[in-house]
Amino acid sequence: MIQAASKKLVVIGNGMAGARVVEEILARAPDRFDVAMFGAEPYGNYNRILLSNVLNRTQKPTEIFINPLAWYEQNHVTLHAGVKALKIDRDRKVVVGKPLKRDAVPYAAGDHGVDGCAPVEAPYDHVIIATGSRPFVPPMEGFGKPGTFLFRTIDDCERIAEYAKDCRKAAVIGGGLLGLEAARGLLTHGVEVSVLEAAPQLMIAQLDPEAGAVLKTTMEGMGVKVLCEKITTHIVSEGGRITHLLFKDGSRVETDMVVVSAGIRPITDIAVASGLTVDKAIVCDDQMRTSDPDIYSLGECIQHRGKIYGLIDPIWEQAKVLADVLTGLNPAAAYLGSRLGTKLKVMGVELASMGETRPASPSDEVVIYREPKRGVYKKIILRDDKVAGAILLGETDTAPQLMQLFMGGTKAPDRRSDLLFAPAEGASMLQVFDMPDSLQICNCNGVNKKQIVDAIRGGCGSVAKIGSCTKAGTGCQSCKPVIVQLLEAYRDAGSADRSEHYYVPGVPLEKSSLVAEIRKRRITSVSEVFAQLAGGREDAASKVGLASLLKSLWAGEYTDERDARFINDRVHANIQKDGTFSVIPRIYAGVTTPSELRRIAEVAEKYKVPMVKITGGQRIDLLGIKKSDLPGIWQELGMPSGHAYTKSFRTCKSCVGTDFCRYGVGDSIALAQKIERRFQGIESPHKMKLATAGCPRNCSEAYVKDLGAVAIDGGKWEIYLGGAAGGTVRKGDLLCTVDSHDDVLKYMGRFMQYYREHGKYLERSYHFVERVGIETLRRLLVEDSAGLCAQLDADIQKAVDAYVDPWKEAGLPAYPGQFSAPELAAVLEAAENNG
């Protein structure tokens, strides 16, 4: 069947706004329009928010593409990549463009088309202008010379990176968000970076002066020099190289290169050239229509109700409205403006800012919290009990809640501190249930809670799958922890049985609520949990899980009731099929001595041990031991417990490493011994089996261990997490590469503590690492993006210090009868009248 000819839609601009509106339109009506797009850059569409990652080399350019060129083909969108649209011929209803010269700057004003090249013409029924903005260069002398740069495109990043190779010092003009991101990027290229801001403080659009000062201190701690109130008048060069900058106040700063990132201005050239109404930007109505009813516009190039927006959220809203209007799905859809709030990371520092940054009148209520040592500053401005503005710097855990109150204009809770501090760990799960469906979770890609929950219900079981289905979490990734929480909260939402969410079957609470209640009531024993939270009814199947949770919550204050332990943990040995036990003493890294072996042999003979077996973990197992013999055997062995019976650090295998092996490049034995001595007995949600390998040949199977360290050439060690070679086989994920044994111990300890705190009971590391994601772990544990590391290091140290060899109970049982054999009872042939 032949369909009526599709209407022709031409989109000018292939940035975040242009590509997004096309996606929205295709989602509503895939065949309604013949779509042609003009993009001045010779690429598909990429996530401009992530450019700083390209500059600092944490992401490759290919990794930030949202829609690669193939996407356009698949969706039958004609993309004129590298072609700049110059004019809309409104009489002929044709958009006219020219291919750009190879090295032309795509956002520069004016015609930089290839000379003599025929113009590209695209006829239209409708046009959407999404030209975005270009960097603003404040008036100064010398900009444009070699060594001066702007920071707006992938090509800009590459030019900056290339030039920085020969530089010692770099200056960034502009201390706003983009300027700081440029500074962060430059740091990774080994140059000394100075940030020069004209205003008296950093990030004046998002922060108040005090927050600006806190950020300045944090930045200086990272090695960036920050100078405020510096207005650059001259960029001075000698012999084709920049030497220094001159400021209005007469001072100067030496530098070898300059990146200008001092704000943006809307690109309106084509609208002006085509006779559309342009004020500060292209003027649009609530349906995103310009002064020509066939021409629409959205994004940073428009002025709506007198306002220009420079953030991503308004674009997502505008794209939805425009798609509704243009496809006829809802011709009356209206964009009513955006309340601006943003949560982002500046140089790895968490920041959320919304609304006003300072009080407008004395009746405004201002709540401030300062913690300079951690670089934390929080401020909330309330007007008539509603949030009028907020700044969260350095710690943003209450940002979603604040954003919700701010966007919705709803009354804030009376206890203002609830707005500043997240409740005790775990309670956050309640919050994700409380979030409204419309709350935007991923700000980079404009994905709300409902879309994510729908994806989870549709079967997306991991952050990565949710990302490929909804794009959520694929941008700056700062929303990933929330997605993880949503995943946990809604994973089983399809099933009607709420009890599936209970942490243990016998207490009707999810983990978060359970933790909150335990903390609130200061419950330190398993029996008290039943007494207070389960109506006094004990549940045998819940005891062990509760014990594990309480121990991790209270550590030293935990009241250890031995009946809440599994038999193995009561007697520190592994029960066997005939009711006897196995005894595996610790043999650090599998290295033993003749005298140790002799002692083992003597014990085995004396106690008539039925089997002596070498284990898979490079140790020796004495099998078939009677419970009552355990204390004697331990004492005669004189070796500590190998913990081969419990949910804890088990062992660290090693290969012979550098001592004897011809291939070894790292001392795997010494490392494994250090690991085992440090972490022996550390309890965890499930067992942890480790290994170290002296070279990538992996003889000790370190790649497939819960934690593994593999030596590589150059004295380095790779640390792998979440490997498995049991019922599940999985190669571990590389966390990081370090230079020393000490660093291996540091990062392994950090991971263990994080796993102890966040793993579910009986969740092996390979499930945990998959659930959280190695990228998130790397950010948390290596880059310390959430500022957790110091605490994790301290807490694992506490656990290490608290280690006591459980076999010491041999001489002093924890309770009478701990190692008692069944007792022979004498039958009294006494009769009792039972009538």
């Binding site: 549940d539 045998a540 199947a541 009946d563 009711g579 009868g817 039958v827 009769a831 039972n834």
Partner: protein, 107 residues
Amino acid sequence: MADTLRLVILGPVEKVPMGQGFCFIVGSEEIAVFRQRDGKIFATQNRCPHKQGPLSEGLSGGGVVICPFHSHKFDLCSGQGPDNEQLKVYSVKEKDGQLLLSLEPQP
């Protein structure tokens, strides 16, 4: 005529650690006695009908014991387990701090 029961004094109640089980050998039988934190006391055969796991080493509470071998669960009052597995149960009580077990009269 009144029933005649064989009575066994197992010893002080503290022989069974609080919240746990303990195995007594009575004649040729292994009998597990469980002492719950709420004061209730139960007695069953010690061996799990499934694979002979020692139930006295299992986790118990709320009138239930879980076998340490394969987590089969049994009601301590009735002896009822999964898949029609059935434990022998015995009457047991505390008197003057002593555990008294009654064995069914021999047929």
